[in-house]
């Protein structure tokens, strides 16, 4: 019944309990009990919250669903569910042959392939079947059955190889194994790619499939590959291959140098269903020559890496022709064919037209190859330059021609005979000759001969003893057509025909291109590079090889040296990598230029194709139980939330009125009246308008000021107190202050007042930071602030801070105030008008704090300070204003706490002193020293 789903149950009977779920639904759906009725008058003040507080009569459906899900999950878990249950594999009782493609094609999902192989091994182990493992990219060997556990070790030791699997090589052994164990089940973990010829292998597997003893694990091959990197004129080109049109269509190819530093990127795009695309890296030639590795970004496989060796480096070739340059008829120019043939793989330099020293000019350009097409006589200086060029490793390629035939210099590999040889001419019996195949000694060995090439005229070499050795190419009759000789680090090559088509049709053939390419590749990239004469026939041992994922590693023990002429695809013996020394290296790549990635048509085999990346037989009981537990937790949280025990909804409910208030304020701000109303500080109890400036201008009277706190009782007391102090000041001192004013510290200008009386009321809002900054400026500008906490009565020595004290502390936290000290006995404040012992107010127990005085110097003087030495702040707790406050008839408003009957008088004197202190500064401080001054005056 569940066969369509990849799930099975070990105890399916438990599923019958699912039928009980509807009953559970009914039980869970019981209506909550009717709440008790409470008559509650204060509900009205909660009226705005009522709408959000409705308690549902029934359990909400989602909670029900959650609980049902918990029950269902629990039942499912009890039933023992298994995800991806093992498929019924039929009567497979025999041994298992596990064929694993471990070539580069498996690189993308190698861990999954190993996992699937392991799970097959584990299944075999459960069934007690012996197993044989064959890595198809490994060397073919005897296939032996082993215990699954031992096979598991072998499997884990199986490494990903960087080359294509040679499946047919294993065919014989597989045949032998299957003959000995005809019951064996064959499992092929296939990469789905075919590089080599896999026909016999597939045919043999088809037999097994027909006998229903084959199963294949394969995914859709998506491996991209690089092949045939070419250093073209102007760009580095590389072909990108993909096995199917379903694989990735775009990507980037990255070029890296020998050290792995990236040099450039190029995109590639597969058009439509093309299986081949190309990427072109447009880089300067020097950079291109430094490229040693191309890779597809994001692909981790040996096939996605193309290595470049010295052969791929572009040489700079200078071409000089002895003939006049006739640009009108380029096909007649000898240099035309040469430059066309060389341009795909070399950079062509030609002398400037009209140059007086064309050869010298070209040699100065750091050439690798110098081509002289039919150059006759050379002056001694030029010969010297050419010689030194050759000695330093340059290659000189000469073409014959009418002039050369007449010339005589030693810049030829062989001595030349005067006069040419004409074949197939009107006076000759002989027909134009074909080329003979290249001998093994020739650098051209391996290049196919083009039968169409005919040589009708040539310059002959003088017969010499070593002529055969110097001959690189010859005609059928043995006369040399191309000769070459090493000189110093360089080489001289000689074409005994012209560079144009007058003597032969060689320049028209592809052979010409191949030959020139070979000659150019003989040259080092620079003249200084050396190349041993016998290196041609030498073998090169691997230096650095790729692993299956395309990373460099040191060569494994199985890697063997390759011949310098090696041009095949990488194998187990010759893994892809760099072979030979750095200056004469050979790159072996995983794919040949001619290779393409072909997807094997696995469906044609008729065997079941299983995925690679799916785990087998996965018990999901723990997951179900965890899920059920999570649902239970969610249910608990939901229940708590519904029961109002979670705070989320409550916070939201509390935020809502604030949001409404904000919205109202915003809407209100649109109307001018409201805007004006809002300009006045809300919240603060003071609704009086700001003190008009004209009041000050008209008055210009010294006034005392108190800060309006918003508490009417306190403000009235401050006002009455300052009024009382005003009376005393007017009666006793020269100062006749104006009527005291209450100021709002938030918005009123403070600068007009020498003294600011600030009673502290607990619970009032802390002044805004701007207010505090203003207050700071006021204090620094010479103002005196009297903070009065009025709590000396309630404060206990050693006891906790009073609310007022706490309030003051919070206020002063962000206020920049100087260090304070209790009022010293000899402080100026005690002498400014009256000589006082202490500063009493309504209470006489509080301490008065003032700014600490700087320590006196050695001469007893105190250093001068800003603000005329006036402490900008006085903090008291004695409730000064209450002591100063007088009623209409001059009577004291509040009783004082102390025992001293003169306490009110002393409080008023303290007030007088404070005002005098604020107004006169350190004037009285000087008076302290009057005796000393008088003494000095007397002298």
């Amino acid at each position: 019944m569940l066969s369509s789903l990849p799930i099975a149950f070990s105890a399916p009977l438990a599923l019958a309990a699912l039928a009980l779920l509807p009953a559970l639904w009914l039980i869970l759906r019981v209506t909550p009990p009717r709440p008790r009725r409470i008559d509650f008058p204060p509900l009205k003040i909660m009226a705005d919250l009522i709408a959000k507080r409705e308690m549902p009569a029934h359990t909400p459906w989602w909670l029900l669903a959650l609980r049902m899900a918990v029950a269902a999950l629990a039942i499912l878990a009890v039933a023992g569910p298994v995800w991806n249950p093992p498929r019924e594999a039929g009567p497979m009782r025999g041994p298992m042959l596990l064929l694993i493609d471990n070539g580069f094609g498996a690189a993308t999902d190698w861990p999954e392939r190993q996992a699937i192989s392991e799970s097959r091994l584990a299944a075999a182990a459960r069934e007690g079947r012996p197993v044989a493992i064959v890595g198809l990219a490994e060397a073919s060997g005897e296939i032996a059955l082993s215990e699954p556990r031992a096979a598991l070790d072998r499997l884990r030791a199986l490494a990903l190889q960087p080359h294509a699997p040679d499946r047919s090589a294993h065919l014989q052994r597989i045949e032998a194994f299957l003959r000995s164990a005809p019951e064996a089940e064959t499992v092929w973990v296939s990469d789905g790619l075919s590089i080599a010829d896999d026909g016999p292998f597939l045919a043999r597997l088809k037999q097994e499939a027909d006998a229903r003893r084959l199963s294949i694990h394969a995914g859709s091959p998506s491996q991209l590959a690089l092949t045939s990197p070419e250093n073209l004129a102007g760009a580095l080109a590389v072909k990108v291959l993909r096995p199917t049109s379903a694989a990735t269509a775009t990507g980037h190819v990255r070029a890296l140098d020998l050290k792995g530093l990236p040099l450039g990127d190029a995109p590639f795009i597969f058009n439509g269903s093309d299986l081949q695309a190309s990427a072109r890296l447009t880089l300067p030639i020097e950079v291109r020559n430094a490229v040693s590795r191309l890779e597809i970004v994001g692909e981790r496989s040996a096939a996605a890496v193309a290595l470049l060796d010295d052969r791929a480096k572009r040489r700079r070739v200078g071409i000089v022709s002895g003939t006049t340059t006739d640009t009108a008829q380029p096909l007649l120019s000898p240099t035309y064919y040469v430059s066309r043939a060389l341009s795909p793989f070399a950079e062509i330099r030609e002398p400037r037209p009209g140059s007086t020293d064309p050869i010298g000019e070209l040699l100065a350009q750091n050439l690798s190859v110098l081509v002289l097409a039919d150059i006759g006589a050379l002056d001694g200086d030029t010969v010297g330059k050419i010689n030194s060029f050759i000695q330093r490793g340059g290659v000189l390629l000469r073409f014959a021609g009418a002039r050369l035939a007449a010339a005589a210099d030693d810049l030829t590999p062989v001595r030349l005979r005067r006069g040419g040889r004409t074949l197939g001419g009107g006076l000759s019996w002989e027909t134009p000759r074909k080329l003979a195949p290249f001998t093994r000694e020739s650098p051209f060995f391996g290049i196919a001969i083009n039968d169409d090439v005919r040589v009708s005229r040539q310059i002959l070499a003088e017969p010499e003893a070593d002529l055969a050795k110097k001959t690189w190419a010859a005609l059928e009759d043995g006369t040399p057509v191309v000769t070459g000789e090493r000189r110093g680090d360089g080489m001289i090559a000689m074409m005994h025909v012209t560079a144009d088509t007058t003597w032969s049709n060689l320049p028209l053939s592809g052979l010409f291109v191949d030959m020139l390419r070979k000659v150019v590749s003989l040259a080092g990239t620079g003249p200084s590079e050396a190349q041993g004469e016998d290196a041609r026939v030498d073998t090169l041992s691997p230096t650095r090889v790729l692993d299956g994922h395309g990373a460099f590693r040191s060569p494994p023990a199985t890697a063997q040296p390759v011949a310098r002429t090696f041009s095949g695809r990488a194998t187990l013996a010759h893994p892809p990598g760099i072979y030979g020394p750095a200056d004469g290296s050979l790159a072996v790549n995983a794919l040949n230029p001619a290779d393409s990635l072909k997807a094997i048509d696995l469906a044609a085999l008729g065997a079941p194709i299983l995925p690679v990346d799916k785990p087998v037989a996965f018990d999901i009981r723990p997951q179900l139980l965890v899920l059920a537990l999570l649902c239970l937790i969610a249910d608990t949280l939901a229940t708590l939330w519904l029961g109002g025990r979670l705070n989320i909804a409550r916070r939201a409910g509390r935020a809502a009125p604030a949001a409404i208030l904000l919205a109202l304020v915003l809407v209100g701000a649109a109307t001018p009246e409201m805007a004006r109303a809002q300009a006045a500080p809300t919240g603060a109890a003071d609704d009086r308008p700001p003190i008009p400036r004209e009041l000050f201008a008209a008055g210009a009277v010294t006034r005392l000021a108190y800060v309006v706190t918003g508490d009417k009782a306190v403000d009235d007391m401050s006002k009455a107190g300052l009024a009382g102090l005003n009376v005393v000041l007017g009666a006793r001192t020269a100062l006749e202050p104006g009527e005291a004013v209450g100021v709002n510290a938030d918005r009123d200008e403070l600068a007009f007042f020498p003294v600011l009386y600030w009673p502290i009321v607990a619970g009032r809002p802390i002044p805004a930071p701007e207010t505090l900054r203003k207050l700071e400026a006021y204090m620094k500008g010479g103002g005196l602030v009297i903070f009065d906490t009025r709590d000396a009565m309630s404060a206990r020595p050693g006891g906790g801070t009073t609310p007022e004290g706490e309030q003051l502390r919070r206020m002063l936290q962000t206020l920049d105030i100087p260090e304070l000290e209790p009022l010293p006995r000899d402080h100026v404040l005690t002498k400014t008008f009256y000589i006082l012992d202490g500063f009493v107010g309504r209470y006489d127990t509080g301490t008065t704090w003032v700014e600490i005085l700087p320590p006196a110097g050695e001469d007893g003087r105190r250093p001068a300070r800003a603000g005329d030495n006036v402490s900008p702040i006085v903090i008291t707790s004695n409730d000064l204003a209450s002591a100063w406050a007088v009623g209409r008839r001059g009577e004291g408003l509040v009783p004082l706490s102390g025992s001293d009957p003169r306490q009110r008088e002393m409080a008023l004197r303290a007030g007088v002193n404070l005002v005098m202190y604020a107004l006169t500064g350190n004037y009285k401080a000087d008076q302290v020293h009057v005796p000393a001054l008088l003494e000095r005056l007397g002298q």
Binding site: D39, P41, L43, M46, A47, G644, A685, V727
Partner: protein, 304 residues
Amino acid sequence: MLRMRVLGTSERQPARPVLTASLDLAARLPRLILEARRVSASVHGIHGRRRAGPGETFWQYRPLVTGESASRIDWRRSARDGHLFVREREWEASHAIWLWIDRSASMGFASSLALASKVDRALIAGFALAETLVEGGERVGHLGLTRALASRRIVETLAQAILVDAKGAEADLPPDAPLPRLADAIIITDGLSPAASLAKRIATMASSGARGHVLLIADPIEETFPFTGQAELFDLEDGLSLRVGDAGSWGLEYRQRLEAHRDAIKEACRKVGWTLTLHRTDRPASEGVLRIASLIAASRGPGR
């Protein structure tokens, strides 16, 4: 198990036991406070009107006190000799104490924790204060019902006025009219109307400088909300109902809300210099009344 009792409109009227209880309470209140106030504040007689203050008729000349505004100098009198004099007039403002007792539906509530219903307690407190103040020489009236009287039968007068006032049994806010500047207001209510509207009324009443005292009557369960579990709450005035899933947690929120509500009323009072007294019905009535009486005495202190 807590029980609640809700009183109907007829039960929210002052009955004979209320009058008796209030007179008893008033009898027990210490006179000393008011006596002391009277002695200190009014030298010339039973009402302290015969003294300088705002008024029409001349009262006295007195020497100018230094620091006083020069505009107060009576130059005609001062010109006679070298001293500066200020002319003072007799204080003629009427001075009354205005009572307002909340008798709305929400006041008709008593839980089993309380000694009396809120409205009973409010009436007793109000009448007792009226009686005491009249005995102390003040004139007392009920806002919107009577004028300020110094009658010896003030309690009966007030009770009769309240009995015939059917409309007042629904109002849960005092009348929206300013009081004379020198009047005192005593507002006895449970304060269970929106704080903003109550604050507005207080501000209006105090707009011309009247002093006031608010006595908040609260039932203990209104303070504590000692319920748990599911509950359905009913409001007595607006017919609101609320089903709460968990009264315990709701109560937490309620108490915070109530605190904020009280703070708002307190702030409104403080803004105008009024006092606020909270009185719970599980406490004896004398507590609240005594406090209000002493507050009135204190506010009539020097300076007025």
